[in-house]
């Protein structure tokens, strides 16, 4: 789950990281008041869940309150990578002498928390990883200990030769680790972590992604989800206990199982079609989930046919078949529906479907090719 910069800054602040003061505003006029409260110069930053805000013009400096209002006016309502800016952060600006990158992830290879630091801060870290990977130091952290002092020394000396700066960086790294572990983050980044000419250390940006599986025990953080910019289908799917990702094609898919759902999309492409979505109804194939799934898919006007691909195993295919027929009736569906059901009672299911306009198939390949053909006919 992504959260806005303002919320990430607040979390970092709570864990003792040095975050400059800021105010969140929704109306340009409020920027002047905010700038006066915090003290100028300030930076006005669009709060949208996309990267590259600065380059896209969503981050602007202001040296006095009136200018802050101007900049806020320019940014609010702006379209940034398809999202309309509805709120901005007015934050105290600091002078920058050095910019570092510090970040944390769960490293899948070592199966441990991993901290990454680089003296090449303020730029796209993926670019640094691609072109100058030697500028990134990765430290695997044992959760039994947290960051050990020798690891802190390695990281600070990698970042700077200045002893005073190193002394100030050490607690920042520890606080970042504590924040990451404390909120069940999958990613926590400060880019850039800044050193001012006077030697102060400030985190002037903040990004945290939260592990979706931890939300049941991160109640406060769970409330920070911003659904307003998410695809409506993805929001509804989550509520219905389904996984859904919207794509651009004409063949809608309803599948039980994420790997099988990905393979269904892949097979559609392989046979010359374009998938309209990824949709996993989970390990079961209960009729109400199929109904929710079809309802979400049918909102997409690009969809010209739907393939239901269910490898039922233990699930009774005749129950699923009846559920699909009910769903079609209830939704008044006209889009052709191709149904593949494999598993217990699949022959009964096929007999049930034979008397309807649903196209019944016995293999995934047959389902995909018939769904593509049905879409072409429209």
């Amino acid at each position: 789950m992504k959260i806005h910069e303002v919320d990430a800054r607040e979390i970092f602040s709570r864990y003792g990281l040095p975050v400059p003061p800021s105010r969140l505003i929704r109306k340009a006029e409020e920027a002047g008041e905010a700038a006066r409260e915090i003290g100028c110069p300030v930076v006005v930053k669009a709060q949208v869940l996309v990267g590259g805000r600065g380059i896209a013009g969503g981050v602007k400096l202001a040296s006095h309150p009136d200018e802050a209002v101007q900049k806020a006016k320019a940014i609010l309502g702006m379209d940034l990578k398809g999202i309309t800016v509805e709120k901005v952060l007015v934050a105290r600006a600091v002078d920058i002498a050095k910019e570092f990158y510090v970040g944390m992830v769960v490293d899948r290879r070592s199966r441990k928390p991993l901290m990454m630091v680089s003296p090449a801060g303020g730029i796209d870290i993926e670019e640094v990883a691609r072109t100058t990977p030697e500028k990134i130091l990765k430290i695997v952290i044992d959760p039994l200990w947290g960051i050990l002092p020798f690891q802190t020394r390695r990281m600070t000396s990698f970042l700077t030769g200045d002893k005073e700066t190193a002394k100030k960086l050490a607690p920042v790294l520890g606080a970042l680790y504590a924040a990451f572990m404390g909120v069940d983050a999958t990613l926590a980044e400060i880019n850039p972590l800044v050193v001012t000419p006077a030697g102060e250390v400030w985190a002037i940006d903040a990004k945290i992604n939260i592990d979706d599986s931890s939300l049941f025990r991160q109640k406060e953080v769970a409330g920070l989800r911003d659904e307003s910019t998410e695809d409506r289908g993805e929001v509804d799917a989550r509520e219905a206990g389904l996984s859904f990702v919207k794509l651009n094609g004409a063949i809608g898919c309803v599948v039980n199982g994420a790997g099988l759902a990905m393979s269904t999309m892949d097979m559609i492409k392989h046979f010359g079609g374009e998938p309209a979505n990824f949709l996993d109804i989970g390990g079961s194939s209960s009729p109400d989930k199929v109904l929710s799934a079809m309802r979400i898919i049918l909102r997409d006007s690009n969809v010209k046919s739907i393939l239901v691909n269910i490898f039922g195993g233990i699930t009774r295919c005749d129950d699923v078949a009846r559920g699909i027929i009910e769903a079609k009736k209830e939704l008044g569906m006209e889009v052709p529906l191709v149904v593949r059901l494999t598993g217990t009672n699949e022959d009964t299911a096929r007999n049930i479907l034979a008397g309807t306009t649903l196209i019944s198939v016995s293999t995934m390949e047959e389902g995909v090719t018939k769904a593509i053909a049905a879409a072409r006919g429209r």
């Binding site: 290879r109 592990d211 979706d212 599986s213 199982g257 994420a258 393979s263 492409k269 390990g283």
Partner: protein, 296 residues
């Protein structure tokens, strides 16, 4: 021989009185698995409809039954504790079906299990089956057939799809291991390859991977430096858009890495053919391990 589970496995079902635990305990038992007990705190002393004894704790269950494996059908909020309890009770193999366990819990659980000599399979997996011998998990037993193909996969129903094709074409399986769809799992492709390498009943290994992480790439590197069995593979997610979680918590392309294309390239560079569709796996296996199962 098969790997990890066979006729000697004595299995405790953790969460046996829950809806999934009860149903699958019964299914496993019907398949022939030696389900020797179940655990639900507070329900100790009772028996299931099948007559399986229920215990309050794993320690009691293991002491009474001599169990050497357990399978966890416990909700995400309590599953980590169940896994730890099983390891603490001396169980050597813990299979966790549960989806939705926090990643950091898995990070902390793995050393805990290693210290106690326990292996975790999963979480978020269908389990493991050695056809004809033992099934520990939720997979439909009747699509499997005993044979000499080892299958290891990050998926559930996609595994069944491929196993179904293999069985229909006469290629039975020695063991089918679901390692799960989460980003941090107890047993990965490398572990599975190691186990299959030592298994006299496995001639050929089928690896079913997907986007996210670098497990496939690491497996490919090991195979490239010399692996004693034939390997074929299928990778799901060629058409997955970057940055989106495709159902499984671990199925996500981040920072441009973990793409299906990279995994396919890594396997091909290691001499492992990658099927374009699930069904095509049969063609690859035919070329690699032409001996089919004689048993049904």
């Amino acid at each position: 021989m098969s790997i990890l589970v066979d006729e000697n496995s004595r299995v405790i079902v953790q969460g046996i009185t829950g809806r999934d635990g009860a149903f699958h305990a019964s299914q496993m038992r019907a398949y022939g698995t030696k389900v020797v007990g179940g655990v639900t705190p507070g329900k100790g002393g009772q028996k299931t409809d099948d007559g399986i004894p229920i215990f309050n704790t794993m320690a009691e269950a293991v002491a009474e039954t001599g169990a050497n494996a357990s399978v966890v059908y416990v909700p995400a909020a309590f599953a980590t504790d169940a896994i730890c309890e099983a390891a603490d009770a001396g169980v050597a193999l813990v299979v966790c079906i549960t989806e939705g366990i926090p990643v950091l819990d898995m990070v902390r659980v793995l050393p805990y299990l290693r210290e106690r000599g326990a292996r975790l399979i999963g979480p978020n997996c269908p389990g493991i089956i050695s056809p004809g011998k033992c099934k520990v998990g939720i997979m439909p037993g009747d699509i499997h057939k005993r044979g000499r193909i080892g299958v290891v996969s990050r998926s559930g129903t996609l595994t069944y799809e491929i196993v179904h094709h293999l069985t229909q074409s006469g290629f039975g399986q020695s063991s089918c291991l679901g390692i799960g769809g989460d980003p941090v799992v107890g047993t990965n492709f490398l572990d599975a390859l190691e186990l299959f390498a030592k298994d006299e009943e496995t001639d050929c290994v089928v690896i079913i991977g997907e986007i996210g992480g670098s497990d496939e790439e690491e497996a490919a590197a090991v195979i490239a430096s010399g692996y004693p069995k034939k390997v074929a593979s299928f990778i799901a997610g060629r058409t997955a858009p970057p940055g989106k979680r495709m159902g499984h918590a671990g199925a996500i392309v981040t920072g441009g890495t973990g793409t299906a294309a990279e995994k396919i390239a890594a396997f091909e560079a290691a001499g492992v053919e990658v099927a374009a569709t699930p069904g095509e796996i049969v063609d690859l296996v035919k070329r690699l391990a032409p001996v089919r199962s004689k048993r049904t």
